[in-house]
Amino acid sequence: MRPRAAPPESWLLPRPKGLYVVPGDFYIDPTHVVDTAVITHGHGDHARPGHRRVAATAETLAIMRVRLGKTSKEPATALRFGERLRIGDVSVWLAPAGHVLGSAQVVLEYGGSRVVVSGDYKRRADPTCPAFEPVPCDVFVTEATFGLPLFQHPDDAEETGRLLRSMEIFPDRPHLVGAYALGKAQRMIALLRRAGYERAIHIHPSFAPLCDLYQRFGVPLGALKTLSPEVTMAETLGGEIILAPPSAPLAMPMEPGRGPVRVGASGWLRVQSHSRKQGIELPLVISDHADWNELFRTFEDVGAPEIWVTHGREDAIVHHANSLGFKTRALRLIGYGGEDE
C-alpha cells in the first residue's frame, strides 16, 4: 500500500457546479460556466458552452464547435489519449471511454493517488469509437445510468438483426429509428453497415453535421441521404430506414399498418412499461452506457478499492459493491443524464 499524502476525498469534491479538483482549480464536466473545465465527451449535459478554458480530446472539441459554435472563450487544449497535461499541481491525462466519438475518462494524479473519472462509458465494441481502456487506480468514479441488475443489454448485432427482420415483414413501410444526434445515430448506422445493410440511410437534417464530422474523423458511415423537409415520406420512403430525433415531427401518415414502423434504440426499452409508453412499435435494446454486469466488471478491471458513484441509480450499486467488499460513496451529482438515452 502506497502512503497517501492527500486522500482523494480531500481534493476531489462534488460541488453544485460539478466535480471540482482543488489542487488544479478546475472542474470536470461542469454544469455551469467555470474558468477551467476538462470535458469527458460532447453530450449537452457534459459539454456546456461558455467556459474560459477547456481541455478535451480533439474529437470532443470538434463536436463542441459543431454543436455550440465554439468550445470556450480562450483557445481549447486538445489532448491525445495518454498525453499528460499539468493543471496546477495535478497531472491530467485521458483514456478512451467507449461511449461516443471522442469520449474519454479523465485520469487525475495527485498526492500519491490516482483517480479515474470515467464520464459516461460502455464496455462493448462500438465501430464508431475506440474501446474503453481500464486504467488501474485508487478511486474509480463511475456513472450509474443503468445501475439496476435488470439492465443487461443484449448483443447489439442481434438487436440490429431484429430491425432488418422487421423490414422483411413490413417491406412497404419505412422504418423510422428514433435516435439522438450524437452517438446513437452514428452507432446505429455503423451497426447496420456491419450487418451488411448497404443501401443509403435517410437522416434527419439535424443529424447531417455530426455524421459529416464522424466521417471526417475516419468513421465510415456509408451512403447517407439527408431528408428535405418537403418530402412526403410515405410515398418515397417505403422500405427505407430513416433516422431522426425521437421527438422530430415528420410529415408522415400515421395510420397503423401504413405509417412508419417507429423503432426505438435505448437501454431503457428493456422494460415493457417504458417501451410501451412512447408509441414505439419496435424497441431495440441498444445502449451507449455500461449495463449492470459491465459496471461491476469494470470495477474489477480497474482494481480500485474505492468506487464513487456520480449520477444515475446509485443505491443498488452501492448496496451490491459494498457486499463485494468495495468501499463506495454516492456523490449525487445533479444535472446529468437525459440527452443520450
Binding site: 435488470l150 415483414i169 413490413f170 428493456r270 412499461s273 410501451r276 412499435e281 419496435l282
Partner: protein
C-alpha cells in the same frame, strides 16, 4: 420459444390490428408444426392448465435473487413476472430451450405443485424476453390484443383465402391445427368438417345508402327491422346443439336457455337482444340456412322465409320469434318507417332481395342495411377499460354516465360503454388527461374524476332492469370530447327516460 417471444413482444407493441395480422401471418410462415398451432392456442388462451400464481412466482424469484436488489428492481419495473424474467441469473443448462408446443403440452399434464420446478429448469435455457413470455404463459396472462376475429384474419392472410373459409372451419379445428396450416400453405387439402353442428359463415348486408332505395319495389324487396343485439347462428344437427357468434366462435355457454329450447334440426340465423338482460331477452329469427338435413342456402329468400315460418310453427316455442316482414308500398312508406324505427326499438331497416340466395361472407348486394340516424347526448367519462395489455386510449372501452337528481344532489349513473376510436379522439391529450385525473385503478379499469364531457351518438335507449340507471344506451359511439364543457352540462337521466320505447 425465441420466435414466439419475439412475436409476442411485437404484438404487445403493435399500433393496430393490421400490423398484428402481418406479424401473425409472418410467424406462421416461419414456424413449423406443431409449434405454430400451440402458439395459436396460447395467444387465444385456448388452453387448460394450472396457473402459476404470484406467490409461486415470488418464491421462484427468491430462490436465486438478492432480496434487496430484487426489491429495488421490482420498484422500477412494477411487474413481478417481468422482474423475475429480467433478473434471473441463469445457470448453465444442457437442456434444449422449449418451444411453444413443449411448453403447452408439459403444462397441460403437470400437477400444480410441480410448476415451479418445471419452470425453473426452463428459465435456465432461455433469454430474458423469452423468460418474460414464458412466465406470462404460465401465469395465463399472455395478453397481446389477439382476439379470435383477429386470429382468423391472420390465418386468412397467411393462406390467401377469404376469412369466411376460416370461420366455417374454426369451431371444428383442434390443436395442433396442422391440417389447417398445411392446407393454407397449399400442401394439403381443405380440412373437412362433417357430421357435427358446424358454423356456416354469415351473410352480411351492404351499408345501403338511401339512394339505392329509389325504386324499392315491394315485390322485389322484403323489408325487416334491424334488431339491436348480438347476431347468432343456431345450429342443431344430429343431436348436437351449438350457438355461434358472427365470427364462428362457439358461445353456447352464454345462452343455456336457448340451447335447451333448440328442439329442431337445422341452422337458423337470428339476433338476441340486449346484453344478457334475461327478462327482456328476445330472440328474433330471420333466416334458415339448413332445414332438417337439407342445405337451402341456394334457394331464394322467399322460399327460405316460407320454410322458416313452417319450421318455427313446428317448434312452437315462444323463445323463437319470427322477425316479421314489414309491409310497405313505396319509398315514402320506407322513409316513414325509418323515422319510426327508434320508437320500435330497432336499429334501422334492412331490405333484402326476395330472389337472393344466402351468400356467406362480405356484402354481396342482396341485403341493404339502412341504420337509424343516431341521437346525440353529452355524457361524463367515468371509467376506462384498457384493451388487453395496453394503457392507450385508442381501443379502450369507456363507461359514460349521466346525472340523476336525488334528494342529496345529483349523482352520476352509468348509461353505456363505447370503444374509443382514434379518428375522433385526440388520444395523446386524453391519455394525459386520464393520467392526471385517475382516482384509482382496479386491474384494467381506471376510475377517473367525473369531469370530462364526451359527445355520444346512440341509436336508442333500452330498458335495463339490473342497472342503477334502469336503462342503457344502444349502439353507442363516442364522437367528440367536449374539453371546454363543465361536467354539470351533461344530460340527465330524465332526458333519456323520455326516449324509452
Amino acid at each position: 420459444m425465441k420466435l414466439f417471444a419475439e412475436l409476442f413482444d411485437r404484438l404487445a407493441h403493435a399500433p393496430g390490428d393490421d400490423v398484428r395480422v402481418e406479424l401473425l401471418a409472418d410467424y406462421f410462415r416461419q414456424t413449423p408444426d406443431p409449434d405454430r398451432g400451440a402458439a395459436l392456442s396460447l395467444l387465444l388462451d385456448k388452453v387448460d392448465f394450472p396457473r402459476l400464481s404470484p406467490a409461486m412466482l415470488r418464491k421462484l424469484g427468491s430462490r436465486r435473487l438478492d432480496q434487496t436488489l430484487f426489491g429495488m428492481s421490482k420498484d422500477f419495473i412494477k411487474d413481478l413476472a417481468e422482474t423475475v424474467a429480467l433478473l434471473w441469473p441463469a445457470r448453465v443448462s444442457n437442456r434444449i430451450a422449449p418451444g411453444p408446443d413443449e411448453v403447452l403440452a408439459t403444462l397441460s399434464l403437470a400437477p400444480r405443485a410441480d410448476l415451479p420446478e418445471i419452470i425453473e429448469a426452463w428459465l435456465d435455457t432461455i433469454g430474458p424476453v423469452e423468460r418474460w413470455v414464458l412466465l406470462m404463459v404460465a401465469s395465463r396472462r399472455l395478453r397481446a390484443g389477439v382476439t379470435p376475429d383477429l386470429m382468423r384474419r391472420a390465418l386468412a392472410a397467411f393462406g390467401g383465402v377469404p376469412v369466411t373459409e376460416i370461420e366455417e372451419l374454426w369451431d371444428a379445428l383442434e390443436r395442433p391445427y396442422s391440417g389447417l396450416f398445411q392446407w393454407l400453405e397449399g400442401r394439403g387439402g381443405r380440412p373437412t368438417v362433417t357430421g357435427v353442428a358446424r358454423f356456416h359463415a354469415m351473410m352480411r348486408g351492404h351499408a345501403g345508402p338511401p339512394v339505392m332505395l329509389s325504386p324499392p319495389d315491394p315485390s322485389a324487396f322484403l323489408a325487416e327491422w334491424i334488431w339491436r343485439g348480438r347476431r347468432l347462428q343456431l345450429s342443431a344437427r344430429g343431436g348436437r346443439r351449438k350457438i355461434f357468434s358472427e365470427g364462428g366462435d362457439e358461445v353456447s355457454a352464454d345462452y343455456p336457455e336457448i340451447v335447451r329450447a333448440m328442439n329442431f334440426e337445422g341452422v337458423l340465423d337470428a339476433v338476441v337482444s340486449a346484453a344478457g338482460e334475461k327478462a327482456e331477452s328476445g330472440l328474433r329469427v330471420f333466416d334458415v340456412l339448413v332445414d332438417g338435413a337439407e342445405d337451402i342456402r341456394d334457394q331464394p329468400l322467399s322460399a327460405r322465409r316460407e320454410r322458416l315460418g313452417a319450421l318455427l310453427a313446428r317448434i312452437g316455442d315462444p323463445v323463437f320469434e319470427l322477425s316479421p316482414e314489414i309491409r310497405f308500398r313505396g319509398p315514402e312508406d320506407l322513409r316513414r318507417l325509418h323515422r319510426e324505427c327508434r320508437e320500435r326499438g330497432a336499429g334501422g331497416l334492412i331490405l333484402k332481395r326476395r330472389d337472393g340466395r344466402y351468400i356467406s361472407g362480405p356484402a354481396t348486394g342482396d341485403w341493404f342495411r339502412w341504420p337509424s340516424t343516431p341521437r346525440i347526448a353529452e355524457a361524463v367519462l367515468m371509467y376506462m377499460h384498457h384493451a388487453r395489455g395496453t394503457r392507450t386510449a385508442i381501443g379502450a372501452e369507456a363507461t359514460f354516465g349521466v346525472w340523476r337528481h336525488a334528494a342529496d344532489g345529483p349523482k352520476l349513473v352509468s348509461v353505456g360503454k363505447a370503444v374509443l376510436d382514434g379518428s375522433v379522439i385526440d388520444a395523446g391529450r386524453l391519455e394525459q388527461w386520464v393520467r392526471d385525473n385517475t382516482i384509482r385503478r382496479h386491474g384494467p379499469v381506471t376510475e377517473v374524476v367525473p369531469a370530462l364531457v364526451v359527445e355520444l351518438a346512440y341509436h336508442g335507449v333500452d330498458r335495463a332492469a339490473r342497472r342503477k340507471a334502469g336503462l342503457v344506451l344502444a349502439d353507442v359511439s363516442a364522437t367528440a370530447i367536449r374539453w371546454e364543457k363543465p361536467a354539470s352540462d351533461a344530460v340527465t337521466l330524465k332526458d333519456l327516460e323520455r326516449l324509452l320505447p
